[in-house]
Amino acid sequence: MGALKKSYYIKSRDFIRAGEASIKIQTLLKSLNFDPKLIRRVAICGYEGEMNVVMHGGDGSLSFAILPDEVILEISDDGPGIDNIDKAMQKGFSTASDEHREMGFGAGMGLPNMKKNADDIIVESEPGNGTRVRMVFLNNKGGDDG
């Protein structure tokens, strides 16, 4: 099987549709009989990344590539960028607004959840230049569900 690829547009502040792309990827992986633990890891990372774009970024995209041995997610946006990536990776650190917190966001676990669940993650961002996150999920591992 060659790579199966698709890209979804993510609209900034569209909380009604936020998460739909990740659910579609989750559904697709289930139909392809991928390991349930891998599917869960991919879905969590896709969802967290998608929500980050909706909350913090300008418009963006969630792209995936599915290969027999791995799944690759790339999430990018043209938002304000991250001031300090190391700080943003700390559990509990959040720049969520009051509006976001009322919707259940702002736990400060988004990037930490992505880091925990991806086998490899690269975050590129600088103030004023948007954010790009690339994650790889290997299909031969059980992953960390804890």
């Binding site: 909380f15 936020a18 990740s22 969802y47 919707m103 259940g104 966001f105 736990a107 676990m109 959840n113």
Partner: protein, 117 residues
């Protein structure tokens, strides 16, 4: 513990899912923060929450949650119920607070997401 037993324990109302009340759940989580739900071992659990948004359903779908209990007598709007129906995700409304609802389920020997009591 079956969902039907949880409904009794919480003196709850079934918002959606009467046909799924034989579903078994073994662990219980309670949170109003989506990322905390995703950080835990939530597969097949029952999730207690006070949030009634579409995002609660999507988070539950991503995490593999088995059923949702809305505390404090809350019921979600129609579009949230419809999304849950499409996923066959049971929704229950408990008249009790988060604390009391958790306590009642703990008294029924349910464990937390990490297996501890």
């Amino acid at each position: 513990m079956k969902l039907s037993e949880i409904v009794v324990a919480l003196e709850a109302t079934v918002v959606y899912g009467n046909e799924h009340l034989d579903k078994e759940v073994t662990t219980c989580g309670a949170s109003d923060l989506m990322s905390d739900i995703l950080a835990g071992l939530s597969e097949g659990c029952i999730l207690l929450t006070g949030l009634t948004t579409v995002q609660v359903i999507r988070t539950a779908m991503v995490a593999g949650v088995g059923a949702i209990v809305f505390v404090r007598g809350k019921t979600p709007p129609r579009e949230v119920i419809d999304l849950a129906k499409a996923q066959e995700l049971p929704l229950i409304s408990s008249p009790y607070s988060m604390f009391v609802s958790c306590g009642r389920l703990h008294a029924c020997n349910m464990t937390g997401l990490d297996g501890r009591r």
